[in-house]
Amino acid sequence: MFNLTGDVIDPNNVRNAVRRSEAGALVVFEGVTRNHHEDREVIRLEYEAYASMAESQMAEIGRQVQLRWPDVRIAMQHRLGVVAVGEASVVIAVSAPHRGPAYEASQFAIEELKRRVPIWKREVYADGSIWKANREVSP
């Protein structure tokens, strides 16, 4: 599962895509809209994507995870449109026989997503909004 959705993400769907009896560890990362950026109050985030390329880049991250951690299974879902404070914009679920690789692969996946998946966000404040760039170095 590597896809975009316009709906609220159900983390259980993403978890269940990787849950299996060989896996003793299941790690879920949720990226959640935070209510502040430095000292400004954030009201919501608004996401858009180059959809076809975003999904293929997410799948490519999945392939790289598989190569690097062969016993891991991963699923990723990213939401588009308005994501209110406290709601998830992205959910990444990783399962592995043991927790070390699961934690590592989970972190790798979110770092790579921020670095290369063509998705953009507007950060909306009470008195305006900006296109907010990630700090990760580009591919």
Binding site: Y50, M53, S89, R115, K132, N134
Partner: protein, 76 residues
Amino acid sequence: MQVNVLYFAALREQSGCSERLIHLPEGSTVLDAVESSGFGDAAPSIMVAVNESYVGLSHTLMDGDTVALIPPLGGG
């Protein structure tokens, strides 16, 4: 030759459109397409994908390519 340029996010707002066909001489590069679409100044701060793969500014374009101008990312 003809390529389809896609604009996203801040670049879409600045250009006023989300896609545009542009005509370039055979052998033109991605940089030529970026300059032709009016974003030559932005070239150092954007990435470019041709047919959904990231390429460098010196990549040579072919007729019918889709060139996506990708401003700084904000996923996750």
